[in-house]
C-alpha cells in the first residue's frame, strides 16, 4: 500500500463510525496501519494532523452567549408560545394544523369587513384596562423575580438604560427601599418594572412609553404639577401619571394617598 492510500484510509478511520458505515474493510485498515507503522513520513503526517487539532482546540476562542442573547432568545420563545396558549382552543388547533387555511380565511374576513373596520376602529386601550393589567402584573410578580437586584438608584437606572428605549429616572429621595427591577410585558409591550419595599407593603413602579394613552381629564387628581389618575382593584391601589411622554404607575397594597405622596417625589 502506498502512503497516499494508507493516509486516506486512516484519515477516515480516526472516526470509528465512519469506518463502520463506509465500505472500508478491516483488512484495508489493518494494511494501512501496517504501512504507517513502518513509514516515518506517514507517522509524521498523522502526528502533524494531531498537533494542528490540539492547536486549534487550545487556541479556539472561548466565546459564551451573552446575558442579553439569553434574554432575547427566551423572550422570542415566550412570544412564540403565546399564540398557542392564549388563543381559543379551536383557532389554536386550526393554526397548528392548517395555518394557510386560517390565513386565507382571515384575509377573506378582512376584505369583507374592511370598510366597517376602517370607519369604526376599536378604541385604544383604556386607562381602566391598563389598570387591570398593572394590578395583575403587580400581584403575580414579586421582587424575588427581579432580573437585576440593587438598592443603588444609579445602578438600576443604568441597567434599564441598556434595555429599554427611554431614559428611566428614579427619584433620589424615596422612602421605600429600592430592591431592583426587571423587564416586563404589558400585553406585548415592554416596560420597566421597578421593585420597592416598605415595612407593610411592596410597591411596583411601572414605566413605559405612554404617548398613545390618554388619561381622562375629568378624573385626574392634581398634585403639584402632576395630574394623577387614582384607581383601585382587588385590594391594590394604583396611581397613574404622565411625564415627558412616559407613563408612570405605582401599584401597591398601600393606600392611594400614600402612593400619591410618593408620586410627588418623581
Amino acid at each position: 500500500m502506498q502512503c497516499g492510500a494508507a493516509r486516506k484510509h486512516l484519515y477516515g478511520w480516526e472516526a470509528p463510525s465512519y469506518a463502520e458505515e463506509s465500505r472500508l474493510v478491516p483488512a484495508e485498515v489493518a494494511e494501512a496501519r501496517a504501512h504507517v507503522a513502518g513509514c516515518a513520513a506517514c507517522q509524521e503526517f498523522f502526528a502533524a494532523e494531531r498537533r494542528l487539532t490540539d492547536f486549534v482546540r487550545a487556541r479556539a476562542p472561548q466565546e459564551k452567549a451573552s446575558a442579553t442573547l439569553r434574554q432575547r432568545v427566551l423572550a422570542r420563545i415566550a412570544e412564540a408560545r403565546r399564540p398557542a396558549t392564549s388563543m381559543p382552543y379551536g383557532l389554536g388547533q386550526l393554526r397548528r394544523r392548517n395555518w394557510m387555511l386560517a390565513m386565507i380565511g382571515s384575509l377573506v374576513v378582512s376584505v369583507m369587513l374592511g370598510g366597517v373596520w376602517l370607519s369604526q376602529r376599536p378604541a385604544r386601550i383604556t386607562p381602566q384596562q391598563l389598570v387591570t393589567i398593572l394590578v395583575e402584573d403587580h400581584a403575580r410578580t414579586s421582587p424575588n423575580r427581579a432580573e437585576f437586584t440593587s438598592s443603588d438608584r444609579e445602578a438600576v437606572q443604568k441597567w434599564f438604560g441598556e434595555r429599554v428605549d427611554f431614559a428611566l429616572r428614579l427619584p433620589p429621595s424615596f422612602d421605600p427601599q429600592l430592591i431592583g427591577g426587571r423587564l416586563c410585558s404589558l400585553k406585548g409591550q415592554p416596560a420597566a418594572l421597578v421593585f420597592y419595599q416598605q415595612p407593610q407593603s411592596r410597591i411596583s413602579l411601572f414605566v413605559l412609553d405612554g404617548s398613545d394613552l390618554k388619561l381622562p381629564e375629568d378624573r385626574l387628581t392634581v398634585i403639584d404639577s402632576k395630574r394623577c389618575l387614582l384607581d383601585a382593584r382587588k385590594g391594590y391601589s394604583v396611581v397613574l401619571w404622565k411625564e415627558r411622554g412616559l407613563l408612570y404607575s405605582l401599584v401597591s397594597e398601600a393606600p392611594s394617598a400614600d402612593l400619591l405622596h410618593l408620586a410627588e417625589k418623581f
Binding site: Q2, C3, G4, A5, R7, K8, Y11, G12, A15, S17, Y18, E21, A41, C42, E44, F45, A48, E49, R51, L52, T53, F55, V56, R57, R59, A60, P61, E63, A65, T68, L69, Q71, R72, V73, L74, A75, R76, I77, E79, A80, R82, R121, A123, R124, I125, D137, R140, R145, E147, D165, R182, L183, C184, S185, K187, G188, Q189, P190, G210, D212
Partner: protein, 203 residues
C-alpha cells in the same frame, strides 16, 4: 384593539428586539435544554459567520425559534447537541449563506495524490508549529474565520467540539467522506493562513 396600544417604538429592523415578556425567567423543559447548549451554539454561530457577534446572535436567535417549533420531532434527546447544531447550520444556509459573496467550494473526496504529496511540506514542520504557537489569539481566530465556511464548520465541529465524522455528516447533510475531505483541506488551508501571519511578523 390592543394593536393600537403601541407604547414602545420599534427598533431598527436589522436589530429589532422582541418584546420581552413576564415569562422570561420561567424555566420550561425546552428552555432548559436550550440554555444548556447556548454557549456552544453561539460559538459555532460565531465561526460560521466569521466572528461577527451581532450576526451570530441573530443566527442563534433564529435557530432557537426553529428548534422550538420542531422540538416535538426530536427523536433522540441524547443527540440534542447535534440536533441543535444541525438546525443552526441549516438556518445559516437558508437565511445567511445565500448572501455571501464567496463562491461555494467544490466537494471532492480525499485523494491519494494529495495525501501522498503532503509529506513534502509536513515532515519538517515542527519548528513552524512552534511559531504558530506564538501568534496572537486574534490572528489565529482570523486565520480560522477566513477559511471557506464549509471547511471552517468541519474543523470547528471535529477539532473543537470533537464530534465524530458521522455526527458532522448528519449536521452538514453530507457524507462522512466529504467531512474527512473538508477537514483535511481545512487543515491544509489553515496552515497556509497561519504561515502568512507568521511571515507578516517577519518570522
Amino acid at each position: 384593539m390592543l394593536r393600537r396600544f403601541r407604547l414602545i417604538r420599534g427598533r431598527p429592523v436589522a436589530r429589532q428586539e422582541p418584546p420581552l415578556t413576564e415569562s422570561v425567567t420561567l424555566p420550561r423543559p425546552f428552555e432548559e435544554a436550550l440554555l444548556g447548549h447556548l454557549d456552544r451554539l453561539f460559538a459555532l454561530a460565531l465561526r460560521l459567520v466569521g466572528g461577527q457577534r451581532e450576526v451570530a446572535e441573530d443566527l442563534v436567535q433564529e435557530t432557537c425559534l426553529h428548534a422550538f417549533r420542531n422540538y416535538e420531532q426530536l427523536r433522540s434527546p441524547a443527540n440534542l447537541h447535534a440536533w441543535f447544531f444541525r438546525i443552526l447550520v441549516r438556518t445559516h444556509i437558508n437565511a445567511f449563506h445565500r448572501q455571501r459573496r464567496e463562491p461555494p467550494i467544490v466537494d471532492v473526496e480525499l485523494s491519494d495524490a494529495w495525501l501522498e504529496g503532503a509529506s513534502v511540506t509536513l515532515a519538517p514542520a515542527t519548528p513552524e508549529e512552534h511559531l504558530f504557537g506564538q501568534l496572537l489569539d486574534v490572528e489565529v481566530q482570523q486565520a480560522l474565520d477566513t477559511l471557506p465556511v464549509e471547511f471552517r464548520a468541519v474543523v470547528w465541529l471535529a477539532d473543537v467540539e470533537e464530534l465524530s465524522y458521522k455526527e458532522i455528516a448528519e449536521i452538514l447533510q453530507c457524507s462522512p467522506g466529504t467531512v474527512a475531505s473538508r477537514r483535511y483541506r481545512g487543515h491544509h488551508l489553515l496552515r497556509e493562513r497561519l504561515r502568512e501571519y507568521a511571515r507578516g511578523r517577519g518570522w
